[in-house]
Symmetry: C2
Subunit: 518 residues, 2 copies
């Protein structure tokens, strides 16, 4: 394909994307195709001959765009639809798409500093920007350069622990990767400390998170060899939650004390800021206090049991100072991760992982075979391959850079605040209709509600709504509540009218169900 052909077809692709996003509202949010429909609609074998031999390049791409339109698009769930209220969002934006495009075009690979210094250094820089924007203590930022704190960052953000120059941020693929690399760092650190003190026996590790934590915690434990199955509780303690579905610190303390008494070493705690089911917020401060009280924090080093904060969805909201209280106590955590690819206008994949103990992270993941040795590594430059599971890595910092430059801190804050305003609106609509009840505290942009009927009625309501194609909602089951409908307002394109229309659809569907039931 010549560069001239590329220019022509890429301009067409750009228009395809812009047209798609301009008209996305007209598409059913949730695809109605059946398993196998698309697989079977595609040819059984790859073509033998180059397209150029079968037809011209323009004809070839006309056929590709036609297949995209006719075969692929009807099989998509339209995550960018303003009527997508399911799961958590996976926001994109035009500046971010430009970043992905340029990253693909440059085609560089940032596994080592040397294999593209700009890929590493831009990442370090934008992570420092972003860490500052969500109010992280400076210990979580890199030592890439001397930094002057900006005036707007409050004094509580500058803790005075002696671990400066051991922190920094990195882009991981997903929050699941972040949870797993933090577990590896935790194990490395606790094992190293253990070896120093009681070299004779191998520690028996224990991991703690709440019953409402994301499934990636158990998955990480399975991958790391600390659980044989999702149900295996040899090393995992799922701590009960309080009436707000947040981890109960007293229950955590009991579990830790019991484990210590039984010869276990508390190794890793994952606190969730914004659970997937209901955006409940575990108290970092109280969890850190439990770790202190139970002797899990080494007094001399400030390090001990690794406390990781999974703020995958909620972290984005912390660009607004008024939401930063959900990170109170963060100075006591060892790492935190959140996904700009969820709620900060950045294409999947982009998980931002910050740690104040990068030496434990790279200690857990670093191997340098001869073919990767180079002067950059030897001089102490950051090699991000040692901060992640994979070796290779794309130039993902570009899209984040573009988003931060284009929107600026204030633009991102306005974006979050508008979703919060719409969520408050939606909550008030639900509360005003006594056929419904709000079943979990609304902490941000997720409303958990139920029709005052049984689980079957709620499930029927959800299925009816999703089958309409006019919106997409998902559900969860909350302890003591049962089947719960989740309504999350976080898509880039969602406006007030979409929220009001969705509420009307919900009311209509409810009426229809009530008539049928009667």
């Amino acid at each position: 394909m010549s560069s001239s052909d590329f220019r022509t077809q890429a301009h067409r692709a750009i228009d395809f994307i812009a047209d798609y996003l301009d008209t996305i509202e007209s598409r059913p949010v949730l695809s109605s195709i059946k398993p196998g429909d698309i697989y079977n609609a595609l040819p059984a074998h790859a073509p033998d001959q180059p397209a150029a031999l079968r037809s011209s390049v323009p004809a070839e791409w006309s056929s590709i765009f036609q297949d995209l339109e006719q075969t692929i698009l009807p099989g998509l769930t339209h995550w960018q639809s303003p009527n997508f209220f399911a799961f958590f969002p996976s926001d994109t934006s035009y500046p971010s798409i430009l970043g992905e495009l340029l990253s693909a075009g440059l085609g560089v690979q940032g596994m080592l500093w040397l294999t593209s210094p700009a890929c590493t250094e831009l990442e370090t820089k934008v992570l420092d920007w972003l860490g500052e924007l969500i109010g992280l203590p400076t210990e979580f930022l890199s030592d890439g350069a001397q930094r002057t704190p900006r005036a707007s960052v409050g004094p509580q953000m500058h803790s005075s622990t002696p671990h400066a120059r051991n922190g920094g941020g990195v882009i991981e693929g997903t929050a699941s990767d972040a949870t797993l690399v933090a577990l590896c760092a935790a194990r490395h650190r606790v094992r190293t400390q253990h070896d120093r003190t009681q070299a004779s026996s191998s520690p028996r590790f224990a991991i703690y998170t709440s019953t409402q934590a994301h499934s990636s915690v158990i998955k990480a434990a399975m991958i790391a060899g600390l659980a044989n199955s999702p149900e295996d509780r040899t090393h995992i303690r799922l701590i009960d939650t309080d009436t707000n579905f947040a981890l109960d610190p007293a229950a955590l303390e009991r579990a830790i004390r019991e484990d210590i008494a039984n010869g276990f070493t508390p190794m890793y705690v994952v606190a969730t800021v914004g659970t997937t089911s209901s955006t409940a917020i575990d108290s970092i401060e109280q969890i850190a206090a439990v770790l202190d009280r139970t002797g899990c924090t080494h007094s001399e080093s400030g390090f001990g049991t690794w406390l990781h904060i999974d703020a995958a969805h909620a972290g984005a909201a912390c660009v607004c100072p008024e939401y930063r209280s959900m990170l109170t106590g963060i100075a006591h955590a060892d790492s935190i991760a959140f996904n700009p690819h969820k709620w900060l206008l950045t294409n999947f994949d982009c998980n931002c992982f910050f740690t104040r103990d990068r030496r434990s992270l790279t200690g857990a993941l670093s191997i340098t075979p001869e073919y990767l040795r180079n002067s950059g590594t030897d001089s102490g430059a950051i090699d991000y391959r040692d901060w992640q599971i994979p070796l290779g890595r794309r130039f993902r910092a570009l899209k984040l850079w573009f988003v931060l430059r284009h929107y600026g801190a204030e633009g991102l804050r306005s974006y979050i605040r508008e979703h919060m305003r719409l969520s408050e609106l939606f909550e008030s609509l639900v509360r005003a209709d006594d056929r419904f009840e709000i079943v979990a505290p609304r902490t941000m942009n997720l409303i958990c509600f139920r029709y005052r009927g049984d689980d079957t009625a709620n499930k029927r309501l959800l299925d009816t709504l999703n089958a309409s194609g006019k919106l997409y909602l998902t559900h969860t089951v909350l302890p003591g509540v049962g089947y719960t409908i989740r309504f999350c307002i976080g898509a880039t394109a969602t406006q007030e009218r979409h929220v009001r229309d969705a509420w009307m659809l919900i009311q209509d569907a409810t009426r229809a169900i009530e008539i049928k039931t009667v």
Copy 2:
């Protein structure tokens, strides 16, 4: 950013990419910037105000493109340069860039079948296409539909094991991910078999790979909790290689027998087809025979110790029938992975992982919390989240689909064959100059050679060449050989003149060193 602004700026980005790739030859391949240069050239903080408030959208993007050109590009190592002969390549192509662009624009998330059926089904289909193209037995393909074998696939490709409908392919991020998920599947399967037979004690696992295997095998073991450090050999056996740097099957057999005698359970073997140092090829057939002879293959199920084939770089060559002999014995393997993002014109990241035992893979990685339950999953559709470490996933099948459609099987074969021809040419040039020696058998597109001097002279030669900016080479250290220069011909844009020019540069640099030494 309006869609109209996006169209304008994206067209500009397209031209930026095409201009960049059209003129890439004029840039120094390896950046000469120093650590910190780029970090320090960027502002200390993210901008506060949206760009639109500071200037117009066109002015904003003029400034972004200027920064890209002036700050970022000088800090890149130009992986797409025709003079990039380092590591293994990371090929891109225009059709693939279009795929990445459209994937970013559609912004869908394929964690579950339901969250975008087309994302899953297109992936299953193109993996079936690709598996067939590299000659995998049908057991490694999906059961997505009844398949009619094409005439060109030889009869030896249809083994008759009874495990059909348990196979399939998936796109993982990287070969490191593939090595890790295969390890998890291996552990799950061996543990399940062990539990059935000797429920009383927990198995002590052993993992085998050659001393020349990729560092990701040890890294996977560290992540999986089977090694405390890169040097820890409690569970890992690094098997010696023969004079071709391929795993010595006799040494493997001794190690396995010794382990079994000592109460270890052989759990996972990674054979490398195309090692990173020298593209040595481990014999799958002989390794499988060792597993059979040592009782590691269960006679009733055909399954036992998991044999994973790491063909990260070399797998691409198997689109040509004449190179498929390197996969002889593949019917006895449990999984194989290779990277179209290395040598098959597809943007990073795109690792293709095939297994004939997907139940063990999903058994190792599947967890279904309530908020992910849905009718698609319940009906048995593929949920690719259960085949990988992360939960979320991009629509990466698009780029692979475009590459396969655009080039066709024959186009890909021509591409590989031209690199092979150039490699043969380069090898002959080196052999004709008796100041040099070829130090490893050339199995494909990598030439390992040395200047007949000491390691220091070879290192000086490499550094001189790379400092010129005119090409980029890397090194390795081969056992019994020492410092070795690697010359890999695999970049999309490389033509014969680049290879001949590189050889002239090498000769010139050698003369300069010899004069200095004299």
